[in-house]
């Protein structure tokens, strides 16, 4: 099973929730009418796409259908696919890594979205590509967060730089970057404490981590990945916006797509804030991560 098949398999639930709803709406109808479009809107809203984005997608499908003189409801499906892809973009958004090491990736997000787990998975992912990886235990706040990251570092076979619980996260980042330079590590993954995007003082702390990184390694952090739980509703847009403003988010990792959550929030975020999804998490095992490819994602959803 290639990556495509695997993704499709993983996204069965998403497909059920999303495309099949659309499909069921379409197949119940003989003709295209207002009521049908309204039901399609509802289906998108139920997938967490958000009201504004849903209305826009349907409005465009409508005008395209008119343009192309689509008479049969089944002709609407490819149009939907086209519209979602238009918003998500067709290309995989590449990681912005610098020409010379170390590349620094900062992971941020609200509590419990999967930052630490994703770092474990990414460390493994990059190790497989032959890269040397260091992880920074900069969540010095949550109880046993350091122990948790340690387990993941061991599983991935990478080194961890840590201090005691309660120490200054910026100091941990500083230490890690020094070590990365000394050891010529290719990649540094920084775990941060979960925080709600509205806590201004905690967002300041993230800005400080950014500043420290930039001082030690020019251009760092090269990627700031916002980890978003796929079950999150419209608040994910606020997360992307406020974390984006404070830390310059460069991409999103959408986790927990193995559940029944429909992942439509990705569409809303891309549309509202133009932040691309770079990886998706599909389980709790170390290999349950893959780069996000919009075309495959939409194909997996619609076919």
């Amino acid at each position: 099973m290639g990556l495509f098949g695997k993704l499709r398999d993983k996204l069965t639930k998403v497909r059920e929730g999303f495309a099949e709803k659309i499909e069921s709406v379409i197949s119940r109808r003989r003709e295209i009418n207002e009521e049908l479009y309204e039901e399609l809107e509802d289906a998108l809203i139920q997938a967490d796409v958000g009201v504004a984005a849903s209305l826009e997608i349907v409005a465009r499908v409508k005008s395209r259908a008119k343009e192309l003189r689509v008479g049969d409801p089944s002709g609407l499906k490819p149009l939907f696919k086209e519209e979602v892809l238009r918003i998500l973009g067709t290309e995989t958004a590449p990681l912005l890594l610098p020409p010379g090491p170390p590349a620094v990736i900062l992971m941020v997000g609200v509590n419990g979205t999967g930052k630490t787990t994703t770092i474990g998975k990414l460390a493994h992912h990059f190790r497989e590509q032959g890269k040397s990886v260091l992880v920074a235990a900069a969540d010095t706040f949550r109880a046993a967060a350091i122990d948790q990251l340690e387990v993941w570092a061991r599983r991935a076979g990478v080194d961890i730089i840590k201090q005691r619980e309660g120490s200054d996260p910026a100091a941990v980042v500083y230490d890690t970057l020094q070590a990365a330079k000394a050891r010529r590590a290719d990649l540094v993954l920084v775990d941060t404490a979960g925080r709600l995007q509205t806590k201004t003082n905690l967002m300041e702390e993230l800005k400080k981590l950014r500043r420290v990184s930039g001082r030690e390694v020019p251009g760092a952090p090269h990627e700031v990945l916002l980890v978003v739980d796929a079950t999150t509703g419209q608040n994910a847009i606020s997360q992307a916006k406020l974390f984006g403003e404070a830390t310059g988010v460069t991409g999103i990792v959408l986790t927990k797509l193995d559940g029944t959550a429909k992942g439509g929030v990705v569409v809303a975020i891309k549309k509202e804030l133009d932040i691309p999804v770079k990886f998706v998490g599909t389980g709790e095992r170390i290999e349950d991560i893959m780069p996000f490819n919009p075309a495959e994602f939409v194909a997996a959803i619609f076919d």
Binding site: D147, D229, T231, T232, Q234, S238, K256, T260, E284
Partner: protein, 447 residues
Amino acid sequence: MFSSLAEKLQETFKRLKSKGKLTEQDVTAALREVRVALLEADVNFKVVKDFIARIRERAVGQEILANLNPAHQVIKIVRDELALLMGGENARLNVSSKPPTVIMLVGLQGSGKTTTAAKLGLLLKKQGRRPLLVAADVYRPAAVKQLQVLGEQIRVPVFSGETDPVAISVAAAEEAARKGYDSVIIDTAGRLHINEELMQELEGIKAAVKPHEILLVADSMTGQDAVTVAEGFHARLGLDGAVLTKLDGDTRGGAALSIRAVTGCPIKFAGVGEKLDMLEPFHPDRMADRILGMGDVLTLIEKAQSTIDAQQAAEMQKRLKSADFNLEDFLLQLRQFKKMGPLENILSMIPGFSGMKKLREELQFDDRDLLWTEAIINSMTPQERRHPEIIDGSRRRRIARGSGSTVQDVNRLLKQFEQTKKMIRQITSIEKGLKKGVRPGRFPFIC
């Protein structure tokens, strides 16, 4: 992006009011906007559908349309129906007549079970009970350690050891009976409601220890899927209630509504901060106000009463209401708020505050801001504090020099003060409108 429901409704109805009398079409158009606002607050789609149908039925009734102020009437109907959907009164924990009472926490990964277990432990301990925490999450790396660390912080013992969650739970219940713990709180591993094997494990724990209370711990930021998840857990385990976490952010928390509306399980507690004492009994009517963007005045009052003495609180209310609310009051109020916890939490409980986006951005206070505000106000003469309107350019320069800040800082402070004053006036008028027909004393703060 997230203008509040109340704000939206008021806009809608202001537009309608300019037309004079309302027709049924007007109401339909307005309800369409209500629908959008609810969906933007992540209220479940099907719940919204039923809800709108019910409101329409009530709102199209003669009395409303003929009323001089239909906007307020409809907002009131929406609010009451919201509170009803969420279950009216606060629901308490089940307590076993024969101790120990066993409480089991279940939910998706990352929803906040471990923290909630510790918070609940602390809450029960403060009520004079003797809780025992049980670390039954043997899967997530360092989950047991996390609970142990938290247990130590609140000085509540943590039971751990075996590798099988069912065995751990049974052994813990026995230990509790033996050692006289009257409450057992089981922290289980996060899991997907569609994971057959892990759901069976929960059924196994349930069968073995017969918990008196199975609580679903749900993230308040959950979207449309909240209902599916809650139904999934409810079908397998028969939930007794839910705990809503991470309510201290800017989520409107529509999931709360939906869980209760769909499963019938009351929401018993709400997590409102990372600190372990930040777990509050859940009050549906107050949550309705929050979803509407009307703030949570009652919680604010309770907080004020527990941190400030009654006389001071009464004084504060009076000042807030009075037309000559001045900079001295402003400073006093800021200081008192500060004592009640993070300022942003407190401010979000003020009616209308969460809806006023611009104001919210301007009022981003933290500790440093408070010091700075104090410094500036302290550099003013008493006369200036009581009559801010006399503060002209040269006074501003003097105040800036005296407090080691800039004229811009002084300008900003004065603007914030003006905004606050405006907000209070606005709220007062909203409340006055709402008060008609609302049970007396609903908004003791400002009526």
